[in-house]
Amino acid sequence: MAPVAPRSGDVIFASVERVNAELFTLTYGAIVRQLITDLEEVEEVNKQLDQMGYNIGIRLIDEFLAKSNVSRCVDFKETAEVIAKVGFKMFLGVTASVTNWDAEGTCCSLILEDNPLVDFVELPDTCQGLYYCNILSGVVRGALEMVSMKTEVTWLRDMLRGDDAFELQVKLLKQVPEEYPYKDDE
């Protein structure tokens, strides 16, 4: 049987159930706001956002693999491109670009200019040190872990802090080949 061609981010996004972005944007904003009230320490909020993202990422990967028909990527370079063009598009409705590859091909940057998480957001001065979009770093890390790639994800640029784009650095720490994250009995 001929393999099914992978679907583009646009095609998948057009086929999934979608909602008004502001519901998503405002819900996320209210979560961040509530976390700041309850946890008080900005570092703790960053950590919780990352954890929430991780929990989401390990589940979203299923939907991603099911809908995109992407074959298992063994290559980190290919994986990064797929996340940027298909992953971001099918969920957030926006594409990211991949740049700043290192010589070994184990570290790159995902660049986002349009980011529905931050619409209407203006950080107050009291939130120095807050990585408002930290849920994204957790999502990327979680999703990659489920396809056997252990990564370290950090923010290099943040538009809410005055930079001109969102830049997420993804560094591949360890790749376990041939290992299936899914058990047959599940």
Binding site: V16, V19, A21, A30, R33, D38, F91
Partner: protein
């Protein structure tokens, strides 16, 4: 057509709100968790009501505002209207959604717990499932309360899921 995201983004956030507040931050204090989750919904409802009433004339009375919530507001959020609206004409409204989107799409796993009780296991499981489902409802209750509050109708909102997959949102208002 305004900006959109996939529905799974919103549902993922909802699941995480319930998981974080219900099982991590306030694991043994469901009331505190519920209040926080409801507060998150309240802010969202407050802000959405501001946005979704922007292009329209003011409501003449509370009933018009509630109808707006049932029709336009609900449609913006869930792509359908409230199926049935009841009132006792003394400040209480019941908004019935026969197939509430956020309940029907979620797989609500009751959190694993050693019950150690002598209760019938299926009843225990049913209780746990109901508990988990109700945690998911504080957020939409908060949205409704935030929206109504911003439209001049301070109220308390609760949900009734004794007739799944239908969900009834009850709004109690001291004012009429």
């Amino acid at each position: 057509m305004g900006k959109e995201v996939s529905e799974s983004c919103v549902e993922s956030l909802l699941t995480e709100i319930v998981s974080s507040y219900g099982t991590r931050f306030y694991a043994n204090k469901p009331d505190l968790a519920a209040r926080r989750i409801e507060a998150i919904g309240y802010q969202v409802g407050h802000q959405l009501s501001e946005r979704y009433t922007m292009e329209r004339p003011r409501f003449s009375d509370h009933l018009e505002a509630i109808k707006f919530i049932c029709k336009d507001f609900w449609s913006e959020l869930f792509k359908k209207q409230i199926d049935n609206l009841k009132t006792n004409h003394r400040g209480t409204f019941v908004l019935q959604d026969n197939r509430f989107r956020w309940l029907s799409h979620m797989s609500i796993d009751p959190s694993p717990e050693n019950s150690g009780s002598t209760q019938d296991p299926s009843a225990v499981a049913e209780n746990k499932a109901a508990e988990a489902a109700s945690m998911h409802l504080y957020f939409p209750c908060g949205i409704i309360r935030g929206a109504l509050s911003n439209l001049g109708i301070p109220c308390a909102v609760s949900a009734d899921i004794s007739n799944l997959p239908a969900c009834e949102f009850l709004s109690f208002s001291a004012l009429n």
